[in-house]
């Protein structure tokens, strides 16, 4: 395959200033991630330690195979929710290897607000469940949670129900869930081990019941103890809710690893060789290339050649519809098709991409969508040339294509361009975003400008005189709010992506995601919706 050549001057002024701006974004990301890794107040952590407990993240480290990588997902979910429990909620979730099998791990952060489930945590849980099911992964839950956060119960209630439904539907699909209970799993939380294929309860510590002694007293006037209602030994010896009685935390984790050895794994469809060619250009340079300011254009090939194997890229229809770059390549040895924006989407670019998606489906090749577009081209000529028709064909294909899709936001992702590029609502298997990226219906200034025009038109038709000062103030407020809501931080807090990433790690993220999607047979689609010709 042909190597791409870079045309970047890495010693240039603009490269350096862009690099510095991007480093600023990466530092912000690292600060947010650092906060997301905090596992509760010092006091709570101290108390937990004094009881000989491990923290949520330590349990994950024990559970994973040695040297296993771990892809933490949605680490910043809910980070901007004022009434929530902070970045990531009270659950650490991610994909790693347990007993040499790809596996989704959920670990309750029992030391953060007692592991209570806030809205973001429960919403994150559903997204994780979706990833688990779509990618056919077994699940291991490390349970220590006081259940729903009561002030949030109205919003959490039905989501929690869905999470139990997910467990059993996965089971039906042959995807096991193993739950190790290290502490409380009460009321609704009791259904996590209750619905799991395998449940492991830690001796003297696990407490699993629908209602504790006070509620039982209220309900039936019966006097009972914690152990009688939900102790690990009771559940292992009497009720049978527990399948394995673990002596301590490590023993519980050991048992889960043992179970993972025995369960049927989905056979990876494709396992690449070990000798993979690294890109010839440094990944550090990505920070100098991908524009920190999304308004500044750059050639997306400069990014591609820094993330694909050997910087090799077989471009499709290079001379046609040049604002979209399509081509085949490999990442970490996995064959993949890349669709990347190189500006506004014109009809030709949309049509080329539609053809490329059909070919990728014929070849059963997964697709990566690299977003950097302000949308489809507007204007008389373009409307008359049927840009809607061509955009619709693209969205038809993106919606009905059955090879796995992975999306990556590297700059703008606005308007229907977001749809055509497989935005969140089109269910890509994974969606990652750069910290500088922005998305929305349109750019903040366009949005405020459009609103201003509409207001002026409306005032004119009503014959009202507008207060110029007020209108400018309102416009600025609108720009500020739209700008804020367009940021990667807002998106990730709202769970519109699966994680904001350090651009330098792009290759590892994509390689990881590809390893996961290749965990099952990839079969492209043969049929699509009706194409308007």
């Amino acid at each position: 395959m042909r190597k791409l050549r870079s045309n970047i001057n890495v010693n240039g002024k603009s490269f350096k200033s862009n690099f510095n701006q991007m480093i600023g974004f990466v530092n912000d990301l690292n600060d947010h991630l650092a906060i997301s890794r905090e596992q509760g107040s010092e006091k709570q952590i101290e108390r937990s330690r004094s009881r000989g407990k491990f923290l949520a993240r330590e349990r994950i480290e024990f559970l994973l195979d040695k040297d296993s990588p771990f892809l933490e997902l949605l680490p910043l979910a809910g980070m901007l929710n004022k009434d929530g429990f902070g970045a990531g909620g009270t659950n650490v979730a991610g994909i790693g290897l347990v007993s040499r099998k790809l596996c989704m791990i959920n670990s309750n952060v029992g030391t953060r607000k007692g592991g209570a489930i806030d809205f973001a945590t429960s919403f994150k849980g559903l997204r994780i469940a979706q990833i688990t099911l779509e990618n056919k992964l077994p699940t291991i839950n490390l349970v220590e949670s006081g259940g729903a956060n009561l002030p949030d119960q109205d919003r959490v209630f039905s989501l929690a129900g869905a999470s139990f439904r997910e467990i059993t539907q996965r089971s039906k699909a042959g995807l096991s869930t193993i739950s190790i209970v290290f502490g409380n799993a009460t009321a609704g939380g009791a259904y996590v081990p209750g619905m799991s294929d395998y449940s492991i309860f830690q001796e003297k510590v696990a407490k699993v019941f629908l209602a504790g002694p006070p509620l039982v007293k209220m309900a039936t006037n019966e006097i009972s103890t914690d152990e009688e209602l939900g102790g690990a030994e009771m559940h292992s010896k009497v009720s049978g809710v527990s399948d394995y009685l673990a002596k301590d935390e490590l023993d519980g984790i050991r048992i889960a690893r043992e179970i993972m050895e025995t369960i049927l794994a989905t056979k990876p469809e494709f396992c690449p060789e070990n000798s993979i060619k690294e890109p010839i250009y440094s990944k550090e340079e990505i920070l100098g290339i991908v524009s920190a300011d999304i308004k500044k254009p750059f050639d997306v090939r400069e990014l591609i050649l820094r993330i694909v194997d050997g910087s090799e890229f077989s471009e499709f229809k290079a001379e046609y519809g040049s604002t979209m770059v399509c081509g085949w390549t490999k990442i970490h040895g996995y064959p993949v098709g890349i669709i990347a924006n190189n500006g506004v989407i014109f009809s030709e670019a949309a049509n080329k991409t539609s053809q490329f998606i059909q070919l990728s489906n014929k070849n059963n090749t997964p697709l990566i969508f690299i977003h950097n577009t302000t949308g489809f081209m507007v204007g008389k000529d373009y409307e008359q040339a049927g840009i809607i028709k061509n955009g619709a064909k693209l969205i038809n294909l993106v919606s009905n294509s059955e090879v796995p899709h992975i999306s990556l936001m590297i700059g703008s992702s606005f308007g229907a361009g977001n749809y055509g590029m497989n935005g969140r609502s089109f269910n890509p298997r994974f969606l990652f975003a750069y910290p500088n990226s922005k998305l929305g219906v349109m750019g903040a200034e366009q949005l405020a400008g459009v609103m201003e025009i509409i207001k002026r038109q409306s005032a004119k038709s009503l014959g009202v005189t507008l207060n110029e000062e007020k209108i400018q103030k309102e416009k600025q407020e609108m720009i500020d709010e739209a700008n804020f809501k367009a940021t990667a931080w807002y998106s990730t807090s709202e769970l519109w992506d699966d994680g904001v990433i350090d651009p330098r790690e792009t290759r590892n993220y994509l390689g990881y995601a590809l390893a996961v999607v290749y965990n099952q047979e990839i079969k492209g689609s043969n049929s699509y919706g009706v194409f308007r010709m």
């Binding site: 040695k66 933490e72 690449p272 390689g511």
Partner: protein
């Protein structure tokens, strides 16, 4: 006496000495016949020999000590001579006579000489008659406890009890006061009986600051006897020689001459006619010397003499046995330079020098000018419980004592012997001691320097050990990665904690924390981060760069056990602790396990006995050495899992105390 021809020679021995004899035979054009027990089938000496014959099962009594079988093999193979090596039948009168009866030359002195020297009491009496100075003591016939006690009182304490037929420290005890005399006597008699079928003993004054200096003697059938200089073998442990050197740093020219002449007198007094050794004990304080015994065989440490004199003692033995005249006069014997020998044993210096058994997985010798290794092992050699755990003799020659020590120290640092616990690190520490370098030592040097038998690692050594262990394990795992194998090892998108490996060595658990970066590793020790690079690794060697300096390690890994050799660290056995401790099989306090494969000699307690800390519980014997298992806490004997006479493996549960 006529000159006999030796065309074929049988070696009635095994191991390094068999190989040693074969080597000289080859140089003389003599065909060699080795005999071997079943377990020795794949040994080096077997393949060295021209012909090798299986002689029986592993127990020495059924193979290397079975005289009739050996004689019949010798006859079947038309053997002209038998070389007995050392140990086994080398000083056995019946055997030497059986050889004679069957017209086979026994390479050794005449049987009368052997006989008179095989009894310590008789030897002593002969020497007294020939005015050779002997250690004051009792070597009489009356072996009654009453009499021995009386004699002991007369000699005074400390004193030595020695088996009349003993050797190599077997059946020997030092007694420092009367109250210990009886139990020591019993133990010495028991050991002597099991080793030599004779429980007679002699008593001797114990010379506390003694030096053990011996003279190589050589006689022929024509009454010519010379000495071939001395070897100092003062550094011993459990009465077994650890280091031998020549010339002795203690002897003045005059004293050497005087002792040499005395040795010749002693040899002549018994008409000595082959290679032998006259052993003396020299009082370090007064310079007085006393006759100890004559060893009527080729000594383990004979290479020391060979290196400084350039003689081949085995060749001389064969020549004399053939009936040749000794063509060497006393004035011809000249020494050049300086030689030291150390004995590399499969034993644990940090646990009472208990013998170890197992397989040597890797054995390699450094290339050093003047280094001679007499060994019987190679990769995958077995050290069994049936025989002496000698792995190799390391002998070096230097132009002076300092050079010899330097070469020895370097050789010990670079000799690789993995797979079994050895005394290699102990030997290295020993010869690097100032006092040893100065020649300033006595027979109790090792007991006095108890730091030698405790191993301590510096912080930086521990770090190196942990890094090497972690990277060996990592590399092993890394080579079998499949899924996600192109993602960097241990990659985290939100890094939280270092990967931890737990190891057990030096009687403690250690944690190593690290993470893999792109082309290197970051290790954390006490909050210090170290950048470490794995330069190169194959299945036996690893090179690691630390602080800009590359260190090489030889290693062997078998599941959770890693054996490492490094110049700076020596040999070490690392156990990788399981991440998930097996809660059921942890040994509870109160269980006593056998430290090595052994036989139960005596059970001193019975179930239900109340015992105190340090009470003796069980006496075991391994390789004919007795050791006692004592209580490490107060308690009541709950279960006894063994009975007297039982043979057990190491780590066998012996007794349970509550």
């Amino acid at each position: 006496m006529k000159n006999n021809q030796i065309k074929t020679l049988l070696i009635a021995n095994r191991g390094e000495i068999a190989s040693r004899v074969i080597k000289t035979c080859k140089s003389l054009g003599i065909k060699t016949v080795a005999i071997y027990s079943e377990i020795d089938r794949y040994s080096l000496f077997v393949s060295d020999a021209d012909i090798a014959v299986c002689i029986g099962s592993n127990e020495p009594s059924k193979s290397y000590l079975d005289q009739d079988k050996i004689i019949s093999v010798a006859k079947a193979q038309h053997v002209d001579a038998i070389h007995p090596g050392y140990g086994f039948l080398s000083e056995n009168i019946t055997f030497s006579e059986k050889c004679k009866k069957n017209k086979i030359i026994f390479i050794g002195p005449n049987s009368e000489a052997i006989k008179s020297m095989s009894s310590k009491s008789e030897a002593k009496n002969i020497m007294i008659a020939n005015k050779v100075p002997v250690v004051p003591g009792y070597s009489g016939k009356d072996q009654s406890l009453l009499n021995l006690k009386k004699e002991a009182k007369k000699i005074g304490f400390p004193l030595l009890i020695k088996a009349v037929s003993g050797g190599g420290g077997k059946g020997m005890r030092i007694v420092s006061e009367m109250s210990d005399f009886e139990s020591a006597l019993k133990a010495a008699k028991r050991e002597s009986l099991s080793s030599f079928s004779n429980d007679k003993i002699i008593l001797e004054k114990y010379i506390e600051n003694g030096r053990h200096i011996e003279f190589q003697i050589f006689g022929d059938n024509y009454g010519n006897v010379i000495h071939i200089l001395e070897r100092e073998c003062t550094i011993q442990r459990r009465y077994q020689k650890v280091m031998e050197e020549s010339p002795s740093p203690f002897l003045s020219k005059d004293l050497r001459k005087k002792m040499g002449e005395t040795a010749v007198t002693a040899a002549k007094s018994i008409n000595y006619n082959n290679a032998g050794t006259v052993e003396f004990i020299v009082d370090n304080d007064s310079g007085e010397f006393y006759f100890l015994e004559v060893n009527t065989r080729l000594q383990v440490e004979h290479p020391v003499t060979e290196l400084i004199t350039g003689l081949d003692l085995v060749k001389l033995q064969i020549d004399v046995a053939k009936g040749k005249k000794l063509n060497l006069k006393q004035s011809d014997v000249k020494s050049d330079g300086y030689a030291i020998e150390l004995r590399l044993y499969a034993e644990n210096p940090y646990n009472n020098f208990f013998p170890e058994t197992g397989t040597i997985k890797k054995f390699s010798i450094p290339s050093v000018d003047g280094l001679r290794i007499d060994s019987a092992v190679c990769d995958n050699s077995i050290i069994s419980a049936y025989y002496d755990p000698l792995i190799a003799k390391i002998i070096v020659k230097g132009s002076d004592r300092e050079e010899a020590f330097s070469k020895m120290s370097y050789s010990l640092s670079n000799l690789v012997c993995l797979g079994i616990q050895t005394n290699q690190s102990f030997l290295k520490e020993l010869i690097d001691k100032d006092e040893v370098r100065k020649g300033n030592y006595t027979t109790n040097f090792i007991e006095k320097n108890s730091d030698l038998i405790k191993i301590t690692y510096s912080k930086s050594q521990k770090m190196k050990i942990l890094i090497a262990g972690s990277l060996i394990n990592w590399s092993d795992r890394n080579s079998s990665r499949k899924l996600l194998s192109n993602i960097p090892s241990g990659w985290r998108n939100s890094f939280y904690s270092f990967q931890k490996d737990s190891f057990f060595f030096d009687d403690k658990d250690y944690i190593s924390s690290y993470r893999c970066l792109y082309n290197s590793f970051e290790f954390i020790f006490d909050d210090t981060a170290l950048k470490v690079s794995l330069i190169n690794i194959n299945d036996q060697e690893i090179s690691i760069e630390l602080d800009g300096c590359i260190n090489k390690y030889s290693y062997l890994k078998n599941e959770d056990i890693i054996l490492i050799h490094n110049q700076d660290i020596g040999n070490i056995c690392l156990v990788t602790n399981s991440r998930f401790p097996d809660l059921d099989t942890e040994i509870k306090d109160g269980s006593y396990l056998s430290p090595m494969p052994s036989q139960i000699i005596k059970v001193l307690v019975k179930e239900g006995d109340k015992i105190k800390e340090n009470d003796e519980l069980i006496i075991i014997s391994s390789m004919k050495m007795e050791s006692t298992i004592s209580a490490h806490s107060n308690g009541i004997v709950k279960d006894i899992f063994v009975k007297e006479g039982q043979n057990i493996e190491s780590n066998f549960k012996l007794i349970n105390i509550e």
